[in-house]
Amino acid sequence: MGEVVTEEKAQKGAKKRPKKHPGRIDMTPMVDLMCLLLTFFILTAAFSKPKIMTITMPEKDDKTVPPKIDARRTLNILLTDSDRVYYYVGAIEPGKPQPQFVKSNFSKDGIRKVLLLKNKDLFTKITEYNDSRVKGKIHVSDAAAEEHIKSLKKDDNVGPIILIKADDSAKYKDIVSIVDEMAITNIASYAIVDLSSAEKALLKAQPR
């Protein structure tokens, strides 16, 4: 083969040199690698940020008198070991029949259904408001919408007041789950409080 080429060249004259190509480098592997690295950095930049859930606790001050809560509106949620959840309405008072503990769980049909039913009015209001924002019926900024929902929650005076009580065998994830349920069902007022000794005893007496 090589011989043939030289023969041709010789025929056409030694003056004509082979056409000089500008050095062309195949950049495909480089592009491939860059693409890969770029995707990696974009993804890590987007997903590395941890999410947080904010909780505001009532001030722990001996001087402030806790506000009087309507017993019919209070819903006590008791958390204990192995993901068990109990709830009861009202308060335990001496001399009165003890409230019935109801067993529930953290599943979709568990405590969430109870909370949704109790908080029907406020939940409907907030969901309708959010829906109309999504559908573009009303145009408000995120901050204004948050403010509106806040005021809706503040004006609510029929919804439940949730008291979250965990015993010593509860886990951190139970607290997070129940506070998360509060966010899902748009509960206006809830607090994490201590178990009373009467509740502790009742909780222990519950069958597993």
Binding site: R24, M27, T28, M30, V31, M34, C35, L37, L38, F41, I42, T44, A45, S48, K49, P50, K51, I52, M53, T54, I55, T56, M57, P58, E59, K60, L79, R112, K113, L116, L117, K120, F123, T124, T127, E128, A166, D167, D168, S169, A170, K171, Y172, K173, D174, I175, V176, S177, V179, D180, A183, I184, T185, I192
Partner: protein
């Protein structure tokens, strides 16, 4: 009739602009990337529907592991020239009558989360090998006789009053430990705090309200 020769050449695309653009983007992302600091212990974080992103600065993070160990992290603040971490170490040194050398203070500023009794702190700072120094991470004592964790919180609050509190705990951490930490935080006058969670979408609509 001359034959029409179709030129069969593989099309050659000039990739130079593409490479240019990619290298530009790549440099941008590499420079802006902030690497997530390694957690002091293996933590399985619970899920929540919260989409709020944790702030990068002015945050103190309290880590609670399943075996009830408590670790602490505190950042240098948005304006790194304020050296909040160095200030915190000096304040803690004053409290426990330990004087730290400038080298130890710079070392402390560079590190991230920590969790050891004050007595181990100097050794931890002077150990170069990260595997060796990790042995000192045994958790900050919270017992009532010498509640060092309370002092860390107190001093951190004093050094940077703007700092938010975030709790990053393993889902299986026992509640009493979490409660103890929450109580201590509230004792320091902080009533608003954050739980670090992973995002998990939950769809609940009006149709989900049970009819009754």
């Amino acid at each position: 009739m001359p034959k029409i020769k179709s030129i069969a050449r593989s099309p050659h695309i000039d990739m130079t602009p593409m490479v240019d653009l990619f290298s530009l983007l790549l440099t941008f992302f590499i420079l802006t990337a902030t690497f997530r600091p390694v957690d002091p212990a293996k933590l399985t974080i619970p899920n929540s529907v919260s989409e709020k992103v944790a702030p990068d600065n002015d945050i103190m993070t309290i880590f609670i592991s399943t075996d009830k160990k408590i670790y602490f992290n505190f950042d240098n603040g948005k304006d790194t020239s304020k050296h909040f971490r160095a200030e915190l170490l000096k304040a803690m040194g004053d409290q426990y009558k330990i004087s730290f050398t400038p080298k130890e203070i710079t070392q402390f500023s560079r590190k991230s989360s920590f969790g050891m009794p004050m007595a181990y702190l100097k050794q931890w700072l002077n150990t170069e090998d990260s595997k060796e120094s990790d042995k000192f991470q045994v958790g900050i004592p919270t017992d009532s006789i010498d509640n060092q964790f309370a002092w860390w919180l107190n001093k951190a609050r004093f050094v940077n009053s703007q700092a938010q509190v975030a709790i990053k705990a393993d889902g299986n951490a026992p509640y009493p430990v979490v409660k103890k930490v929450l109580d201590l935080i509230q004792k320091n006058g902080i009533n608003k705090f954050n739980f670090v969670t992973t995002y998990d979408k939950q769809e609940v609509g009006i149709k989900d309200i049970p009819k009754q």
